[in-house]
Point group: C2
Chain length 324, copies 2
């Protein structure tokens, strides 16, 4: 799929309806979190485009009034058949919105209600430059660049080319730390993740998809900017935290939270994007790649944790097993 | 403060800059959560206005490019001196945005950088119709109505008049339940809150400001639409959940999560907006009052829990006590 061309055709097709005014990102759980960087990029960089992000079933039951012919709706469903996300695609399609589905699955159910289907690289040996998070970012960047213009388009595309290598090196770098983390946290019943900027999506994903879903460990994601306005009162020597230190403008928020943790906590695992090599990407766009870096680095921790706990990441007790 | 008049003057003053295009809601922690209904109202009801919500320090370090003369920034700080929120007001003011500060404090620091200061009712004997959450909603409704128009303006104002009485009756109704909840949960170390729509702000506030900040209990808020996409795998007979069943379009999401909890959990506290009387407010606008109802009902639970745990809601170990 040539994303640049696809967006160009979609925008051309929308001209008679007055052009694109809204871009909505809609998905569930980890897929929704994967769209967060794309949403934040438009929210920060666009002067006129409106954007919003929704968990699919809320979008279906309570859609924005602006949804319609001037909208592009970007949805993500790995299996392509998540019922709430398929319903959201159907609803969007019926309103005349341009519908783009991100899915890993060929001939996916969701494609029936989509104007374009965008695949992505996933699993063993994937190329991070084409993974779901980055594909969604490319869609956002193309929409922005082809409507209002985006001054950092070249820098962004250069970042896309670099991210796979950054991730591979970072994953190698954390292998030993991940093994130690797994040993030290195998019996924990509660773990907090922390982050800011687009990386907050990675912190959320790690909490709900890995700790809660795949390891049955209680978890919560705390925004480092919110930490001092309530959450920090739970801090003590026993509670474990995984904190992301982003590259980009929100780094001071993360560093401030880390400084506090270093004083009042003892069980703190630090994922530092700068130390992990993200700074090779231009500062004008580096912030948008934090999510990809952290999510892929978490994978190394997750494999180690699942291994030592003898609780494979594939085990579920309810998902796909019982009615819900 | 006559909010209608204040907004009218602010909009008039912005005419030569091309009018209002963006409304940003900015605050920290519980104050940020209190702005969530106002943000969601604009996000759903507006056809052209852009909106966004930020924790103050992220807004300061990474502001949207659209922030400027065509913006209104609505901030909230109870003491009027929250450093991150004061900085956000200062930054907004410097860009030429219209700045509205919600604060309980007279002659607040934040007012120095605000075009208008809006007070609210708070504490013992407060009138919910003028509390912070509702004042923020009024600001959003006035901006919407005076720019694009809002067809449910009268119904909304009627809801404002009714919400105080609804809340008073609901608080009476849950007194015994709250005492029982406190007894049953006094030794818990982890509690989940759940909700959807504007009520998700109440679930978040209860988790971070009450359980974490004021009771040092681990907590997380789960969106009922996200529950089945990861979080529900932690569900078992021991883990406690407080689940909000909203009045309005997202109610089916909450009911679906409740149905699952009733089958696979045992320690579930239900706050049902319909049973608690919110349905006296017109269906066109009732959804926007869920946050106020739930937050005020939580108060009854929180007093009971703090009492039985002999852990007053005013106790802190770090906040206002150490450097951070």
């Amino acid at each position: 799929m040539d994303i640049q061309k696809m967006i160009s055709e979609m925008i051309a097709g929308k001209k008679e309806d007055g052009g694109i005014k809204n871009v909505f990102f809609v998905a569930c759980g980890g897929s929704c979190a994967a769209l967060y960087p794309a949403k934040l990029l438009l929210e920060k960089e666009a002067l006129n485009l409106r954007t919003g992000q929704y968990t699919s079933n809320e979008f279906v039951h309570n859609p924005p009034k602006a949804l319609g012919k001037s909208s592009i709706v970007v949805l993500a469903s790995h299996g392509g058949n998540t019922p709430e996300t398929v319903s959201a695609a159907k609803l969007s399609h019926e309103t005349g919105a341009g519908v783009i589905a991100l899915t890993w699955t060929k001939d996916a159910e969701i494609s029936k209600f989509s104007d374009a289907t965008v695949g992505y690289s996933w699993g063993e040996g994937k190329n991070t430059s084409d993974e779901k998070i980055i594909q969604a970012l490319k869609i956002a960047v193309e929409i922005l660049n082809q409507t209002e213009g985006y001054p950092y388009y070249e820098q962004f595309m250069d970042g896309v080319h670099k991210i796979d290598r950054v991730v591979e090196k970072a994953k190698d770098k954390v292998k030993e730390r991940a093994a130690r983390f797994a040993q030290e946290h195998k019996d924990d019943t509660m773990i907090y993740t922390m982050g800011s900027g687009v990386g907050f999506g990675a912190a959320y994903m790690q909490a709900i998809c890995i700790f809660m879903e795949m390891q049955w460990i209680n978890a919560a994601s705390i925004h480092t900017g919110e930490y001092f306005h309530g959450p920090f009162e739970v801090t003590d020597y026993n509670i474990p935290f995984m904190i992301q230190i982003s590259e980009g403008p929100t780094r001071p928020l993360d560093e401030r939270a880390l400084k506090f943790l270093q004083q009042y906590a003892r069980r703190v695992e630090v994922l530092d994007a700068r130390e992990l090599g993200l700074s090779v990407i231009d500062t004008s766009v580096a912030e948008y790649f934090n999510h990809s870096l952290f999510t892929n680095v978490y994978d190394v921790y997750n494999e180690a944790l699942a291994g030592i706990r003898q609780h494979p990441l594939s085990v579920r007790r309810y998902m796909w097993k019982v009615q819900y």
